[in-house]
Assembly symmetry: C2
Homo-oligomer: 310 residues x 2
Amino acid sequence: MPEHAPEQQPLVVVPDADGAAALASAGVRTAVVAPEDVVPEQARSARALVVGPAESPAEVEAALAQVAQLPDLQLLVSLGQGSEQWGDLREGVGIATARGAHGGSTAEWVLTAVLAQLRLVPELLDAQREHRWEGRQARTLLRSRVLVLGAGDLGENVRARLLPFGASVTVAARTARDGVVSMEVARELLGTTDVLVVVLPLTDDTRHVVDAELLAALPDGALVVNAGRGPLVDTSALLAELQGGRLQAALDVTDPEPLPADHPLWDAPGLLLTPHVAGNTEGSGERAWSQAAEQVAAFARGQRPPNQVR
Amino acid sequence: MPEHAPEQQPLVVVPDADGAAALASAGVRTAVVAPEDVVPEQARSARALVVGPAESPAEVEAALAQVAQLPDLQLLVSLGQGSEQWGDLREGVGIATARGAHGGSTAEWVLTAVLAQLRLVPELLDAQREHRWEGRQARTLLRSRVLVLGAGDLGENVRARLLPFGASVTVAARTARDGVVSMEVARELLGTTDVLVVVLPLTDDTRHVVDAELLAALPDGALVVNAGRGPLVDTSALLAELQGGRLQAALDVTDPEPLPADHPLWDAPGLLLTPHVAGNTEGSGERAWSQAAEQVAAFARGQRPPNQVR
């Protein structure tokens, strides 16, 4: 329940009317300001700002331009999953994400990509196009060994969807805990890994965590899946393995991103490449706003938003 | 444990040496006779015969020709899932299948096909081929309503794999039981079904169970998946709905099968078509022989084989 009388409720800048509607019960007043617009005088006292997923540099720049016009700002709420793009945000402003809104959808993309690759969907679609009734024996998740790097909301969502297929799933994170092994233990498992799924957050520690050395430790035919951030994988090292025909991959994120039309990765053999669509499914906007409303409501009550990352 | 001294163990005809090896602990003697060969004199006293999945008329005919040469035959064991092709088998010969060996692999195909269609894999592969970084919002299993017609090993395997995706799953069979609704109740759910999965056995009752009337009851955009037998679906009725753009489909089995190269189904919009590969994954041969060995061992002990269907 809101603690403030309506005129005392904190003011929150949102990018559109749908956002204002989503915050109707969050105990705040809202001002709608489009991301590219100058913040009008009457909205400059805003103490919170909700922005989109900000997955392109232009979007991040637009958001930071709004922040510069909000001297009382205490909280930036993103409708996206990550927070690594906010390094230039000024001191004193907290960041909360829509973590939890996208994990199910992105985990579903991981399963889609893994199954499409193991079960030969690209070559079966080619056969269909050519009217050929021809299939060959496919690989299967049954009794396969899957290593998931990243034990957050997304990693656990991936694990839960893999288990009923009869896969043996190991989840790894920087720090071991119940049901989660350390990255050091994970490295020892690489030689017996059929499918490697990368869903780590991007930090200085995790940039290029999938490098030439890690890839070389995987067995022939292993499948590498990146549904985290492009720079988690050393693109050149992966490209070399794909062009050599030793590994397969499925990527929803790339480095650089978007991938330029003349980049050799597009045509790498054994690669399924999708344009950062893993989180973009029907209802994802509503799910993200529902998460944002939770963050804003906690802030209005004077509590720490559950998804605050700084 | 075998009940008979070696020389008294029942003789079983198998199609290859791998099969003989698979039955090494089943308490029987084996004779290897290739499916197309005449049964030699010393194998004519066989009381059981193991044959392949027999999914083509030619294979069924070859098997029945062997049966005609085995006057003492009591049991035919198939390495496949279905039994509807054995209508011409002579009276007095029981049939056991490798049910259980293929359910996991086929259920995995169902999830592969459903996810590929909902998550737009065919159009994303086209975009990749053309180096276009372009995606649109996809559908998702999250909060979708899935109706599975068929509550056997395969239907339950499909249900178990769907649930962690947040889908609402209803499984139907001819007779309602705990966790399974009747076909009559299932028909009432068609109007709110996003994904219809057909994994029924083929019988006189189920032939064309998916006909024009059933398809018309599905909402616009629904996805129809057949991983059972081709004739469960009225091909003409489905083709009309696909060509009208109202429904989507994924088929691993067709009627006729194999699908002739000039059949219009190949190019139907919104269709993912695969050439009866759902059960064909690494290890599927071993899993089928393991099931066959269980049937034969029970027979050798004088018990009813667990997968006996007549």
